[in-house]
Structure formats: structure tokens, C-alpha cells
């Protein structure tokens, strides 16, 4: 379906455009580059759309969980369709607000910090497969690439905290740096378990290694790693209950306390893009990606991107559910959970997985 649409766009629009504008000598290269550009847009536009609307969904879901209504005023064309126009209105408001640069701040770093936090979360989408053929860059070391890029998100936070020249922002940055570095270790070990189980670093191969049905997916043999990975993901994205980097009640808004307007909004978007990223990765690595849970049954068992979207939505809902129900962790307890609970669990389970793989225990590894 998507492939057919893409062929149409390629042959009907890109080919004539390139042959019209570019000399024939570099036509092939130009078409190739244009194709990649179109693919990037085809991934990023939906991602940004979801980023905008997840803010709306979050307010609605948390509203319903807490017995409130949530945003319900801004509609579309005069109709108040459950407040669906809210993200658009928010975006417009935030674009037209002034960005105040605090005196005594490092101006260049202050401006570049939101960019540094948003760019890695978008670049990571390059290697995400949406089906067995639908992937922008099918590279062998995909999992490593993801791990490397998610570890870069911390720079935006640290630089923002330092460049703001504010005590609260600096405290938030320090907290965030320690927290992200700690949880990255547990996350890395969890991913090591996945790559031992799948025998590959390529994300598409990892999904295909889970071929079978819902009990063949990696969540079952790697259950501790699955839980640790998702919780570390929540910590890594600075989401509740691990949101001490913002900690509204203690340090006002943490690292972005001095930011306003679009600069603040970019941090916000980066957080939600990272959230979606973690949801996508959890569904790809542990929950069979685009594979159907009912594999073997005629129509329901077909692998499809719809399954992937359903799994992503489920994990995104978990993020919102956590935020609505859990109180914030105390800082020393976050550190204890990361270092003294998660890292030992993952270290032990990596060994267990290696034994399972060597012994070819079924139904996963035979």
C-alpha cells in the first residue's frame, strides 16, 4: 500500500522534477538525494504531528484519570470537537511569544541548547523500521546508533542549565546529568540482552527474530530486561515519576526555568519526541514490532504497520498513566534504583539469556 503510493510519487513527481531542473550527468545522484529527502519528510511530519497531539492526549487522559475534563474549548472552524484545536492554538501562542535571554548568560549556548536536545531525538528515527521493507537507513549497527543518539540528549539539558546562569537551572542540569548517565548503563545492558537473543544489531533482524506469535516475542524470555528497559526509558526522558530535572515543586522548572517562547517549546517537543522514541523501541525490541500477536490466524495474523502503531500507542499511554498516578521519586532513591537494583538485575539476566541462547531453549532460541 505505502510502497505503491511511494512509487507513484517517485515516478510521477520526483522523476520529472529532477530531469527538468538538473543536468543529465548528475541526474541519478540528484534523484537519490531527493528521494531520501522525501522519505525523511514522510517520517518527520507524522512524528511532529504526533508530538503536537500527544500533548493534547496527555492533558485529556490525565484529566479523565483525575476526574476532570481537560482542554475542551479550542475547536476547529467554530465547532468545539472535544478541544481538538488546542495544540494548534498552543503552537501559535508559543511562536509569537518573546524569547528572553537572561543577562549574564552565555548567549550562543543558551540558544543552541534546545536545538541540541531536539536534534538527536529526530535523527534517531533514521534507522527505525516500520515494516520489513519500510526503513530509511537499513544499517547493520542500528541498535548501537540508537543507543549513541539517545545518550546525546543529555547535552541539551546540561548546556541549558549551565548557560542560563541561574541556580535552579544549574541544579536541574546536575540532577539530569547524573540521572541519565546512571540509567544509560542499565539501558545498555538491557539492549545487550536483546542483541544476544536476536544475534543481530539490525533492528529489522531483531524484529524478525521474534517471528511466531505473542509468546515468541522477546518480552517473555527477556522479561526483567523488558521492564528495566521501559522504566529506564521513562527515567531517560525525564518523565514523571523521574522528573527531578524539572521538579516543579522543588526547583521551579529545573533546567528550562529561564526559557520562554519557542526555545522553551523546543525542549517540550524534544521530551515528547524522546517519549515516542522509547515507545517505538520497546515495541520493536520486546513486543515484535509490526508482527501480529495472533500470527497463524488468517486475516488477524498478517504483519502490518497497524500492529506497530497500536503497540506504540499502548506504551505512550503507559507514560501518561505513570504521570497521572505516581508521586515523584526522591532523588537518592532514583540513584539507588538505577545503580543498586536495575544494573544487577540486567547483569544477571544478560548471563541467563546467553545460557538460554547457547542451550537453544525453545520456543524462542531453537
Amino acid at each position: 500500500m505505502i510502497e505503491i503510493v511511494y512509487e507513484l510519487i517517485r515516478n510521477g513527481l520526483l522523476q520529472p522534477l529532477v530531469s527538468m531542473l538538473v543536468p543529465a550527468a548528475i541526474e541519478v545522484q540528484a534523484l537519490y538525494m531527493l528521494e531520501i529527502l522525501v522519505k525523511i519528510l514522510a517520517i518527520l511530519i507524522p512524528v511532529l504531528f504526533v508530538v503536537a497531539y500527544i500533548t493534547y492526549v496527555e492533558r485529556k487522559v490525565i484529566g479523565f484519570i483525575q476526574g476532570r475534563i481537560g482542554p475542551n474549548r479550542v475547536g476547529v472552524f467554530g465547532l468545539s470537537v472535544w478541544g481538538l484545536g488546542q495544540p494548534i492554538a498552543d503552537a501559535l501562542k508559543v511562536i509569537f511569544k518573546e524569547i528572553i535571554i537572561p543577562s549574564g548568560s552565555n548567549k550562543f549556548l543558551f540558544i543552541i541548547a534546545p536545538v541540541l536536545s531536539f536534534a538527536p531525538s529526530l535523527a534517531a528515527w533514521a534507522v527505525i523500521p516500520f515494516s520489513d521493507t519500510l526503513v530509511l537507513a537499513d544499517i547493520n549497527a542500528g541498535l548501537l546508533y540508537i543507543l549513541a543518539l539517545t545518550s546525546l540528549a543529555v547535552y541539551g539539558v546540561i548546556i541549558a542549565g549551565w548557560a542560563s546562569n541561574s541556580k535552579y537551572a544549574f541544579l536541574g542540569a546536575m540532577r539530569s546529568a547524573a540521572q541519565i548517565v546512571s540509567y544509560e548503563i542499565a539501558m545498555g545492558f538491557a539492549l545487550a540482552g536483546v542483541l544476544i537473543a536476536a544475534g543481530s544489531l539490525n533492528l529489522g533482524d531483531i524484529v524478525m527474530a521474534q517471528d511466531g506469535s505473542i509468546i515468541h516475542w522477546f518480552w517473555l524470555p527477556l522479561f526483567p530486561l523488558y521492564v528495566v528497559y521501559f522504566i529506564s526509558g521513562v527515567a531517560e526522558t525525564n518523565r514523571a515519576p523521574f522528573d527531578v530535572a524539572e521538579g516543579e515543586s522543588e526547583i521551579v522548572a529545573g533546567f528550562h526555568v529561564e526559557y520562554s517562547g519557542m526555545a522553551f517549546s523546543i525542549f517540550f517537543m524534544a521530551e515528547y519526541a524522546n517519549m515516542i522514541m522509547i515507545a517505538v523501541l520497546t515495541s520493536l525490541l520486546f513486543c515484535g514490532g509490526w508482527l501480529s500477536p495472533f500470527q497463524g490466524i488468517p486475516v488477524l495474523g498478517e504483519p502490518s504497520i497497524i500492529w506497530l502503531l497500536m503497540k506504540i500507542s499502548f506504551f505512550l499511554f503507559l507514560f501518561l498513566w505513570f504521570r497521572a498516578t505516581f508521586p515523584r521519586y526522591r532523588y537518592d532513591q532514583i540513584m539507588r534504583l538505577g545503580w543498586k537494583v536495575f544494573i544487577p538485575i540486567t547483569m544477571v539476566w544478560v548471563v541467563v539469556v546467553a545460557v538460554l541462547v547457547v542451550a537453544q531453549v525453545g520456543p524462542w532460541f531453537n
Binding site: 549497527a141 548501537l144 549513541a148 546536575m174
Partner: protein, 199 residues
């Protein structure tokens, strides 16, 4: 053609950022330029089809080591003018060390390893070739003992770092989470039955 353009762009960026690391006044900015130079270096490694090493360079150095660097540098209150006072006095010694380093580097990784004949022998691999797998096979077969020895040295370093920070016996009180979690209602709350008092 495109590869050459990419190479020269990143090589120029690498040299520029490496120069900025030593010449910037602000140590935090220096660290950030070091990060940029790691990135340019990783990009050049990618051109050599060493994707594993390139990504690991980013993952380990940029993602972990430089974050801790930044952490420490931000906490320090370095007065750069004091550090720069002895520049002219130490310049001859610095130049001497630099020349020595240059000669030794030239002898070890000199032009004999990097002439045209050596470069031409780098094999072009098809897209299915996995650099990571080859590296893993080499590390765990031919170089198993050096690899294990490196691992043990790192372990010793970790233990040493922990024991250095735990020198003093703990005198301050800290909460014990396992006790806090295991507390039951009856440990803390005592219900007292008493008759209603009337005046």
C-alpha cells in the same frame, strides 16, 4: 567525489575544533569543542567503513566520558587568567615536548603505513558485510588474552575509584530504603482506646 568532499569537510572541522579546544578561554566551551571534534572524527571513521568504531566513539566518549567531563568542569571555578600567566615561561618546554611527540608519532604511524600502496589495499565490502561481527570475532579469538587483561585492568580501576571515595567510616546518618519500604502500619501507628470524656 562526494566522499572526498565529505572527508575534507569533516577533516577541516576536526582540525578547527581541535584547535578551538586548546585556544578557547572558557573551559566549558572547550569541552563542547572536544565533543565536536569527536563527532568529526567519527564521521571520518564512517567513511572508512568502520561503523562500529565510529558509533562506539560517540557512545562511549561523547555519551558518557564527555558528560562527566562537562559535569566536573562546570562545577569547578577555574580562573583562566592565573592559568595563562606562565605561558611565555613554559613555552620552550612545551615546544620541546610537542616536537618529541611529533617525532615519535611520525616514527610509529608515519608515511610508511599511510602511503598510496597501503591505502589502496583497503578492501571495499558489500553492504551485507558486518564490521561489528568481524571485530567481535577477532577480539574473542586472536586477541582474547589482551582483551581479558584490559577488562581486568578496568575492573581494578573501578574498584580503586570506589574505594577512594569510601575512605572514611560513615559517620552521618542516611536513610535505609529497605527498612523504609518494609515498615508496616502497626510499627508506626498506635491506636489508643479510651472512653469519651464528659465534663
Amino acid at each position: 567525489m562526494i566522499e572526498q568532499i565529505v572527508f575534507y569537510c569533516f577533516a577541516a572541522m576536526l582540525i578547527f575544533s581541535a584547535g578551538m579546544v586548546v585556544s578557547m578561554r572558557n573551559p566549558v566551551v572547550s569541552v563542547l569543542f572536544l565533543v565536536l571534534s569527536f563527532f568529526s572524527c567519527a564521521a571520518i571513521w564512517l567513511l572508512l567503513q568502520a561503523e562500529f568504531l565510529a558509533i562506539v566513539l560517540i557512545l562511549v566518549y561523547v555519551g558518557a566520558v564527555m558528560v562527566l567531563f562537562l559535569f566536573v568542569v562546570m562545577m569547578l571555578d577555574i580562573n583562566m587568567t592565573v592559568l595563562r600567566e606562565g605561558f611565555v615561561k613554559f613555552l620552550p618546554v612545551g615546544i620541546g615536548v610537542a616536537v618529541l611527540m611529533l617525532i615519535s608519532m611520525g616514527l610509529i604511524v608515519g608515511s610508511s603505513q599511510f602511503d598510496i600502496a597501503a591505502v589502496a589495499s583497503v578492501a571495499q565490502h558489500d553492504p551485507g558485510y558486518s564490521n561489528t561481527k568481524e571485530l567481535g570475532l577477532a577480539l574473542y579469538t586472536n586477541y582474547l588474552y589482551p582483551f581479558e587483561i584490559a577488562g581486568i585492568i578496568l575492573l581494578v580501576a573501578i574498584i580503586a575509584a570506589i574505594s577512594l571515595t569510601m575512605r572514611k567510616p560513615r559517620t552521618h546518618k542516611t536513610p535505609k530504603p529497605e527498612k523504609q519500604v518494609s515498615v508496616k502500619r502497626k510499627d508506626r501507628v498506635r491506636l489508643v482506646k479510651m472512653k469519651a470524656e464528659k465534663e
